[in-house]
């Protein structure tokens, strides 16, 4: 095939392909893709595909035919797909403490017990971190508070939110604030402060109570019940907002452990029951506790993919019945495949978001390429430390 192509004037533009089950998927760097039969693929490459055929026309429109390239369209598609390369670091993760009152089986964040000292971010480190984040050339930045459980260091978190909003006014940048919390230390006053300061809120929800509480061990009570209580609180505020200060819809993150694998329907049903419109089926990362307990909570890639496939099928069945629930990975991949867009999820970028898309500011002032890099640092390897 190659020799035949060499003997002809090459009309095949830069592309990749993958053969499977008698079909070939061809793709290119500009985001176009096309599926065809293996016989059609061979005909095309050997110059036997008629230039007046509909398939040839599709190939030409997708930038696969060397002498029929639309330079303007292809360059613009490439730029759109890679727009993140031109704007600077947007996500700034503040690990305001490593302390946490949960002992999740899969914890990868390097959390320590509530009484462990010296793992809280000081106000001076937090202030410097905000100033550094605002040095980003981006016109819009996000500061995300993580931990540990960020509410364990409430006073610094509160001051940082206030200072960030002040810097927003001074610099003219657009600032988004986000908090990832297990809600166990949430109270009315804190919730009110967060809403007043337009902090979007995200929590962890692994499914129904029996599963959630098995994964997310909380000595102080029922983790699932607390999560539901505050999810409802924030959802009510979102649904009944007065329009003066926008209240973002609270979201939840799911971590799939071995215990989740057979419970895909219950998990999706729980999300629907709580009015959550997005579900993010995330696999475990073999870091921290998860690595140490891998034989108990871990699984193979094949097992996860089988779970993912069952879950997605069930979610699509729900969708057909009119239930609104989007699986985030599927949604993001569709955005990339069909809309030529980068969905802003840094793990799915090429190059990945390390430093160019995000920075993680550790409680002690060390800066890492990303939160995962910070976690690897906590495990003893500071390869991803950038400052």
């Amino acid at each position: 095939m190659a020799m035949k192509a060499k003997n002809k004037e090459l009309k095949v533009a830069s592309m990749q392909w993958r053969k499977r089950g008698g079909e070939v998927l061809v793709t290119n760097d500009f985001g176009y893709h096309l599926r065809m039969k293996e016989s059609e693929f061979k005909n095309w490459l050997s110059g036997r595909l008629s230039e007046s055929s509909p398939l040839y026309e599709k190939l030409a429109r997708g930038g696969f035919v060397g002498d029929r390239l639309d330079f303007e369209d292809l360059a613009s598609k490439w730029r759109k797909r890679n727009s993140f390369l031109f704007s600077g670091t947007g996500l700034h993760i503040f690990v305001v403490t490593l302390k946490c009152n949960h002992k999740c089986l899969y914890c990868q964040s390097g959390a320590v017990g509530e009484k462990s000292g010296k793992t809280d971010m000081s106000w001076s480190v937090a202030k410097k971190s905000v100033d550094t984040a605002f040095q980003s050339p981006r016109s819009s930045i996000t500061i995300e508070f993580q931990g540990g459980e960020p509410l364990c260091n409430w006073e610094v978190l509160k001051k940082t939110v206030e200072y960030s909003r002040k810097r927003e006014k001074e610099t003219g940048k657009t600032l988004k604030l986000a908090l990832v919390s297990n809600f166990s230390l949430m109270d009315e006053a804190r919730a009110s402060f967060l809403l007043q300061n337009r902090v979007s809120i995200c929590t962890s929800l692994d499914g129904p109570a029996s599963l959630h509480n098995k994964n997310r061990i909380f000595s102080g009570g029922n983790s699932h019940a607390l999560t539901l209580k505050w999810l409802k609180y924030f959802s009510d505020r979102h649904d009944n907002q007065d329009g003066k200060i926008p209240v973002y819809k609270t979201s939840a993150l799911l971590t799939v452990s071995r215990y989740s694998l057979e419970r895909h329907k219950e998990i999706a049903d729980e999300y629907v029951k709580l009015g959550l419109e997005n579900i993010f089926l995330r696999p475990l990362s073999p870091i921290g506790y998860a690595r140490r307990l891998w034989s108990e909570v871990g699984y193979s890639a094949e097992e996860f993919l089988a779970f993912y496939s069952r879950s997605l099928k069930y979610i699509l069945e729900l969708n057909k019945k009119g239930v609104k629930l989007r699986e985030k990975t599927a949604q993001m991949l569709c955005q990339k495949i069909f809309n030529f867009e980068d969905p802003g999820f840094l793990d799915l970028r090429c190059p990945c978001g390390a430093s160019v898309g995000q920075l993680a500011y550790n409680y002690d002032g060390a800066v890492y390429t990303c939160d995962e890099g910070r976690m690897v640092g906590w495990e003893g390897d500071d390869f991803f430390k950038v400052g």
């Binding site: 090459l10 760097d29 360059a75 390369l85």
Partner: protein
Amino acid sequence: MTNILKISADLKKYPLGIVRYASYALSGNLFVFIRKISASKAEISFSPKKGKMDAKMVSADFKKNLEDETLRDFIWEANKKLREFLILKAITAQERAPEPEKAEGLTPEQEKELEKLIAEVEEEIKKESSGAGGGGDPLKIKQTWEEKYGDESEK
């Protein structure tokens, strides 16, 4: 059925990079080990991750992948300049400047400027028409109707 398959590859025909990609394409189910024996020969060992493998099938798959990788390499090289040109074009493209707002008429400053210009031109015309003692236009051809007979409204 066997547990290990060794295939040798001619590096003069297939460069090591191509051999490597073609071998690793099968690494989903097989362990792959590549050893360069000499400048012109490499030996690739395949062994199954689970159970046993069909050596004939693996051998045929490897051969197909070698052909595919050769073609990939050829297409990649042949399009190198074009690809670089397109990416350079994408990187250096200027964001389109926002369209200027449609003018809803003249601004007060523009109106003033225009009136000033008209006055200057009229002045120049007057000077020209009265130039050289005013004798340059004895029949008053250059005079306007209004200059000759006055404005209609004045009547």
